[in-house]
């Protein structure tokens, strides 16, 4: 199914509704590059998003798309992947979507380890709804909704993912596009659930975590790090200050969801007809 002549242009070029200067533009470009680089044609890819600025991404590229409900990109993606294991399924949406409204699905996705990729546009803010604190907004950051400063500790998605022994845990930055393309490609290739949390500056509402702020802090994880080393990965995950490691933090050797599930072995559900004989057998069990 994989063609080798796919180019980023196959994914098209569209006007966006994003602010000029927003990190989403770079991320969109990286996504097209990553997918085409993997030889995936648009029709082989299904993007399942939530709602938010980030969640608009697939509107701006050629691909199959389900833009569902805020926070619910992951369950829709899970359903889709179980229905058709042959699709490349990607969830792309914001920090609010995935760590806020959809937090429970994030935990479940880490546990299930379905072979799909989650790319979180982590701008530390609720962009589309105009700047309330998100789960990754720093404690004390003042917003219109948090006039006394965000009162909670931000979530550390990397640490949670490593703690849950996630399949693939990486962090990128839109200011490092080549690096990011590589991360996305590794994530998509990884057999199991892959998390790529991407620092994506929001120029309109997050005046703290700016491009410069990230640029100054992001430090690429070097080859000396063994992503199979969970302890080391946790150390990296907890580093969030003057220096923040980006790259692949962790990779576990868990088998992907359903590797041994007989019900998933017969291929895409859309191609399955009712097995009338089996059904008759089932009916007879009630005689």
């Amino acid at each position: 199914m994989v063609s080798t002549t796919v180019t980023p242009e196959d994914y098209g070029q569209f006007d966006t509704a994003w602010c000029p200067g927003c990190g989403n533009h770079a991320l969109l470009k990286c996504m097209k590059q990553a997918l085409s680089g993997l030889g995936l044609a648009p029709h082989q890819v299904l993007m399942c998003t939530g709602i938010g600025q980030a969640a608009k991404t697939p509107l701006y590229m050629n691909c199959n798309m389900i833009t569902g409900l805020h926070g619910r990109g992951l369950p829709a993606a899970t359903g889709a992947k179980l229905a058709n294991p042959e699709l490349t399924v990607i969830t792309e949406s914001g920090d609010g979507c995935n760590y806020g409204e959809g937090g429970n699905h994030f935990l479940a996705a880490l546990r299930r380890n379905v072979d799909m990729t989650l790319v979180v546009h982590d701008n530390g803010i609720y962009g589309l709804t105009k700047g309330q604190a998100s789960p990754t907004t720093a404690k004390g950051q003042v917003t219109k909704a948090q006039p006394f400063g965000q009162p909670s500790e931000p979530i550390n998605p990397m640490a949670v993912a490593v703690a849950m022994n996630a399949g693939f845990v990486a962090r990128g930055f839109t200011g490092e596009p080549e690096h990011l393309v590589d991360l996305i490609q590794q994530a998509v290739r990884h057999k199991g659930f892959s998390l790529v949390d991407v620092f994506q500056p929001c120029v309109s509402f997050n005046k703290v975590n700016t491009f410069a702020w990230y640029k100054q802090r992001c430090r690429k994880i070097g080859p000396e790090h063994d992503p199979a080393n969970r302890e080391q990965a946790m150390k990296l995950a907890l580093e969030f200050g003057e220096s923040i490691p980006i790259g692949v933090l962790y990779k576990s050797d868990r088998e992907p969801f359903g590797a041994t599930l007989p019900t998933l072995k017969a291929g895409p559900l859309a191609r399955r007809a009712v097995d009338t004989e089996a059904l008759q057998g089932v009916l007879r069990s009630y005689l």
């Binding site: 199959n64 889709a80 859309a270």
Partner: protein, 568 residues
């Protein structure tokens, strides 16, 4: 025709195995050719408390549960105290020897079964009850023996032999007792193959027959057993059954799965469904055929989690923000559970809409006999379009005359299938064009016209222009039919109008009947008369009289008749 049925009520604590006894006995009766309607009453606990399994059986067609008891199998003293007043004259009480009965027992025909003596191993005590029951009904043991052989097949011959010995000993012991209980009339000869299953099993089977291959759910009584049945048959059928992290995930997973080519069912109960309301709206917007099963129990909130009610009609009718079409089915029997589930999938796929099945704890847990389901009778259900003609031009939400767009599935062609929960253009992308908005609203609502045209007509049973018309929906059917018979016997011309589909309503199909009746009474398992209000909303017809029940128990014919007494 006076009631010739016999009711065997098995009562005791959770964990005492009364469901095992009840199920085996029911199945033996069904196989013998008898009619069976079971009602189960239990509490929200795993051990202890007071539970009952009531088997109503007989030769003539049976519809609903009833309140009398002919044979009371009391696994504890409380059962006798709680149910002795239900005993019919000549009824018998079978209890163990170990416990002291409290309260008045005079006049009761009590048989103390020497469980311990007949069955030295506690594990076989349930089999004792079966043997004793068979003898009381003057049944030979053949069918029970066969059943026990099947039940213990995996445990080996020794276990089977032990059980059969106990069964016979119990049967023989009872043969020595003079209890005076009349034998059951003989069953029809050569009854042929007959199924015994409960409502939720029938829903699961209906789903499988409709090609359902995906079930996402979060456990909730009394909805779970639909999923558990599918799980139990998954090995044979290949059904993907996934327990979700919560109901929101269950519903959204189903939407994702269907968009990617699955045929999906989402079983739950009212409280769980309440969490799916946003996803229902999503299914409406993405025009995704998902079948939701809402097995009702008394609310609000946790309410009475193991009892029955019909309180969630309104919730299901209006679940979801914004406006979009839907259909709501409400089976009246186990058999209808099967066929209406199939119909639900048919309508869902045809009109690309969320469709709902409303059942309740009574029906979910009610084992009934049913004719073997005839698969060849079932209509074909349209499937999605795997390979659109012009993939490059494909538009997921293309305008058509009836509002139904060809539904492609991602990945099976080069067509891009784009679905946005925002208002969208024909090709599925977000739009802020308000003219497009209007066209899309119209498109979606147009599908509702098709659903209305295909609405199943309510069933009318009885003569025209009856004196009393009992209108009802869902599981109340049986009780209403029986109440009708009782009324007719007492000289009242009575009819039943049963809604197996409660939305959309098509007034031509039932308004003449309602208006033709001298007195129309709406019978519902809730406190506010939800169907009655709906009918008034849609037709203007107002029920002056309602018989409502909301104590957690299923409506019976006797309950309806008592209700009518105060009305008529």
């Amino acid at each position: 025709m006076p009631d010739s049925s016999i009711v065997i009520l098995i009562g005791g604590e959770a964990g005492q195995g009364l469901v095992t006894i009840g199920q085996l006995m029911s199945k033996a009766l069904v196989r013998a050719g008898y009619e069976v309607v079971v009602s189960q009453d239990y509490q929200s606990r795993i051990r202890g408390g007071h539970n009952t399994f009531a088997i109503r059986t007989g030769v003539d067609a049976l519809h609903g549960p009833c309140e009398k008891v002919d044979i009371l199998v009391a696994l504890d003293a409380e059962t006798v105290a709680l149910h002795k007043h239900q005993l019919t004259p000549g009824g018998i009480v079978l209890t163990g020897e170990i416990f002291a009965l409290t309260g008045e027992t005079e006049g009761l025909n009590i048989l103390r079964v020497p469980f311990k003596k007949i069955s030295p191993k506690a594990a076989h005590e349930n089999v004792v009850a079966l043997g004793v029951l068979a003898q009381a009904l003057c049944k030979d043991l053949g069918l029970l023996e066969e059943l026990l052989r099947q039940t213990f097949a995996k445990k080996g011959e020794a276990v089977i032999a032990e059980n059969l010995a106990v069964l016979r000993a119990a049967h023989d012991w009872m043969g020595t007792q003079s209890h005076g209980f009349a034998c059951m009339p003989p069953a029809p000869e050569n009854p042929g193959e007959r199924m015994m299953l409960n409502g939720n099993e029938a829903i699961a089977l209906g789903a499988l027959a409709a090609g359902c291959n995906f079930c996402s759910f979060y456990p909730m009584t009394p909805g779970s057993s639909v999923a558990l049945t599918l799980a139990a048959k998954a090995k044979a059928m290949g059904t993907v059954v996934e327990q979700a992290e919560d109901e929101i995930a269950a519903a959204n997973m189903a939407v994702g799965a269907v968009c990617a080519g699955a045929r999906a069912i989402v079983p739950t109960s009212g409280g769980g469904f309440a969490l799916m309301v946003e996803a229902v709206s999503l299914a409406g917007m993405l025009e995704t055929p998902v079948v939701f099963v809402v097995a009702m129990r008394p609310g609000p909130a946790t309410g009475l989690p193991t009892r029955t009610e019909q309180g969630d009609l309104n919730l299901v009718l209006y679940a979801g923000h914004g406006e979009f079409p839907r259909a709501v089915f409400a089976p009246g029997s186990v058999e209808e559970c099967f066929y209406l589930t199939h119909r639900a999938f048919e309508m869902a796929e045809k009109y690309q809409s969320p469709v709902f099945l409303l059942t309740d704890q009574y029906l979910a847990d009610s084992f009934q006999n049913a004719e073997p389901f005839d698969l060849s009778e079932l209509p074909e259900i349209p499937g999605p379009l795997l390979e659109p003609e012009n993939p490059g031009q494909y538009k997921r939400f293309a305008h058509t005359e009836d509002g139904v767009s060809p539904r492609a599935i991602p990945g099976f062609s080069t067509a891009l299938v784009v679905s946005d929960s925002d208002e969208h253009t024909e090709d599925g992308k977000l739009t802020e064009d308000l003219d497009v908005r209007v066209r899309m609203v119209t498109k979606r609502l147009d599908k509702g016209l098709g659903l209305a045209e295909e609405a199943i007509a309510p069933g009318y049973i009885g003569e025209e222009n009856a004196d009393v018309l009992l209108a009802c929906w869902g599981s109340t059917l049986g009780a209403a039919l029986e109440a009708r018979e009782r009324l007719e016997e007492s000289g009242t011309r009575a009819a039943v109008l049963h809604f197996p589909q409660v939305w959309p309503l098509n007034e031509d199909q039932f308004l003449p009947q309602l208006e033709g009746a001298k007195r129309a009474v709406c019978v519902e398992g809730n406190a506010t008369g939800q169907l009655a209000r709906l009918i008034r909303q849609e037709t203007g017809f107002r029920f002056k009289d309602l018989v409502l029940r909301y104590d957690g128990l299923p409506i019976t014919a006797a309950y309806i008749l008592r209700g009518l007494e105060s009305i008529l």
